[in-house]
């Protein structure tokens, strides 16, 4: 199984992928994020009613997308270049086991397009297309 900190440069409190379950570089990644009450952003989003910010679900998909790259991203410069057709269908709460599925749709000139879905217990919470740029 892939060693997450060895592959992604992200760290607490911004590492948003806990496990990589399936991985075919350049094609598809299936990863997981377990949402706990200890997540720093839940303290204020919102007081007394914690739910995962939608933009962080996009970030989870982007980080999961990092595992489409065959090699470790340490030292590599990969940036989010665009988000298209983002839909937030239902919120994610503490205790949720989020399934992050990302598929590569195509690439051209250092730019890659990904399709991602965040789901929980078979229910889609968020879908989006992400564009990532490798410099």
């Amino acid at each position: 199984m892939i060693e997450i900190p060895a592959h992604l440069p992200h760290r607490f409190p911004f590492l948003l992928v806990d496990r990589v379950l399936e991985r075919e570089p350049g094609v598809r990644v299936l990863a997981e994020k377990l949402v706990t009450n200890g997540e720093p952003y839940l303290q204020g989003h919102f007081e007394g009613r914690p739910l995962v910010p939608g933009v962080l679900m996009l970030e989870m998909l982007a980080q999961a997308g990092g595992f489409l790259e065959a090699d470790s991203l340490h030292g590599a410069a990969i940036f989010l270049a665009g988000v298209q057709d983002a839909r937030f269908k239902a919120p994610a709460f503490p205790g949720d086991r989020l399934r992050l599925e990302v598929c590569a749709e195509g690439a051209f000139a250092g730019l890659m397009k990904l399709r991602g879905t965040v789901s929980c217990e078979g229910r889609e919470l968020c879908t989006a297309a992400l564009l990532v740029k490798r410099l």
Binding site: G82, E105, F108, A109, L131
Partner: protein, 85 residues
């Protein structure tokens, strides 16, 4: 306007959401990037994906892209040439 060129223009308008633009407003000879339609690198990727999906033609690398994206005429010619498999 040839049928293929019209389909190419329609694909560009749809894929890049160039709302309000019609095929006959698009200059066949104008460059797609920079001046002309003024597209950027994300638009280029969208076009590469659209061309593959609609016409079954792959633009493999930047060299092929440079050639194909010179103008709408060049793109139409590129698709015509490569779809004759």
């Amino acid at each position: 306007m040839s049928d293929l060129k019209l389909r190419v223009k329609e694909m560009i308008i749809e894929r890049l959401k160039l709302e309000g633009m019609t095929p006959d407003q698009m200059d066949d000879g104008a460059p797609l990037f920079g001046e002309g339609l003024g597209l950027d690198s994300i638009d280029a990727l969208e076009l590469v994906l659209g061309i593959e999906q609609v016409f079954g033609v792959k633009i493999e690398d930047e060299a092929a892209g440079m050639k194909a994206f010179k103008s709408i005429q060049a793109l139409t010619d590129f698709i015509a040439e490569h779809s004759k498999a």
